[in-house]
Amino acid sequence: MGANQGYSAVGGDRIPTSREMRINPIRRSLVAVLAAIALKPFAALAAAWNKDGFGAKTAADALKTLGASNPVASRDVVIEAPQIAENGAVVPIEIMSNVPGTTSIAVLIDKNPFPLVGKFDFMEGALPFVKLNAKLGETSEVRVVAEALGKHYVATQEIKVTIGGCGG
């Protein structure tokens, strides 16, 4: 089994499926209606999704969409992840920001075809912490950007993706 099985060919422009084309306009109008009458059975339905950020093909382009082009390196942004992953399909990454006033954390995998994998907004009551499993197509820098009081802070760590088993 290749280390990047299931994620090896990610990249290039995608063509929306007929199913997506059918559903998306319906969903858009649904969201509009729901927002208009301020009735939200599922909070997630009305939630934002940064299409440009997630569609960006470089970490720099994705960061631009977050207004975080020049983040300041900070040791208060802590990444807890293995330096070697035996399989790129599941790479556990734990992130915490000790920067006071942190309101969001963005996670980017530089070498992935679409580097931005997640953005987490924390409101009153939540700690600026998240643990997730990400796909790594190949060995890459993991970049974490925290936002606090309008400023952006960054930390990075390289994760090596290796081949674990027989490769048969």
Binding site: G6, Y7, A9, V10, G11, G12, R14, P16, T17, R19, E20, I23, I26, R27, L30, F42, A43, A44, L45, A47, A48, W49, N50, F54, A89, V90, V91, E94, I109, N112, F114, P115, L116, V117, G118, K119, F120, D121, F122, M123, E124, G125, A126, L127, F129, V130, K131, L132, N133, A134, K135
Partner: protein
């Protein structure tokens, strides 16, 4: 049609750990099925965490998150019995949600 979710919320040392498991293929749109056909892009886009009805974490995620996503979030304080809810919506408009009480 969405597969099961599972969640656990545990209070320890003044912090509540919320660990949530979701069944979802998180298809990248680039994987081929055994017949050589591309499997369409299909992934969760938003995950929302609420405590006693109030949203505390809004997440936007991509197809770069692993299949069958597992997230851990942390809540300041919290008390046994607090109601924790997690819901998701994917790019097809499918949704699922689960809830539990802090233990």
């Amino acid at each position: 049609m969405a597969g099961p979710m599972k969640m656990r919320a545990t209070l320890s040392g003044g912090v509540t750990d919320v660990r949530v498991l979701m069944t979802h293929p998180m298809e990248t749109g680039q994987r081929k099925d055994p017949d050589g056909k591309l499997v369409p892009l299909h992934f969760i886009q938003n995950v929302t965490l609420k405590v006693n009805g109030k949203t505390v974490v809004e997440s936007q995620i991509s197809q770069g998150i692993s299949r069958n996503p597992v997230f851990t979030f942390r809540i300041k304080g919290g008390a046994k019995g607090d109601r924790i809810e997690v819901s998701w919506i994917d790019n097809h408009g499918e949704t699922n949600q689960t809830e539990t009480a802090v233990a």
